[in-house]
Symmetry: C2
Subunit: 118 residues, 2 copies
């Protein structure tokens, strides 16, 4: 079963308890977000105006080896948060907004939650 499907049929946490299968799938995605480097990579890709970044752009933003960055990009791709496309020698990564949206919906707080002040 695809991860995005699992996200789509998982109710918000505040609605009803997740079953074991749903929890396992959702946890894989959150685990991918549970690393500072991956979060920064994701935010770099997600906030890029054109929607795409080259691997070399990401590598330049960290003092980590190129294979390490490649590893993190792979993790983000495997859970459906990023998609990759090769053009000539360069590989471009872009955000998959649907996955991000499903995650956001999953964490929607209960309706009784107070609004953000100001």
């Amino acid at each position: 079963m695809e991860l995005l499907e699992i996200l789509e049929c998982s109710p918000p946490l505040t609605r009803e308890p997740l079953d074991a299968e749903q929890a396992a799938g959702v946890a894989r995605v959150f685990k991918a977000l549970g690393d500072p480097v991956r979060l920064r990579i994701l935010s770099i890709v997600a906030s890029r105006a054109g929607g795409e970044v080259c691997v070399c752009d990401v590598t330049g933003a960290f003092e980590l080896s190129q294979p390490t960055i490649s590893h993190h990009l792979k993790v983000l791709k495997e859970v459906g948060l990023l998609a990759a496309e090769r053009r000539a020698s360069w590989v471009y990564y872009r955000l998959v907004p649907e996955t991000l949206g499903e995650l956001s919906a999953l964490l929607t707080p209960p309706a009784t939650a107070p609004a953000v002040p100001q």
Copy 2:
């Protein structure tokens, strides 16, 4: 710096890249969500009508040792997703909706575009 403060001053991933400190704080919370058992625990607490669950209620829902459940509850409490209160012999956990809301906002997809521009 409190974790909730870090969440509050971290822009949505699609707005601008996170700095190292923000990423470190946010990653701690997502890492806590990156375990299937903790996700299920959180959904049990969050979806409970009364808003509170006793530890024994949670323990009964899993085939894990009671100390293991206690450990997961502690992790969720440390990142500000749950709060605990002791009354008599029992400890009751409840959701902290503000933290959940900040996370949800952080993952808000770009413009929640209803239609894809051709």
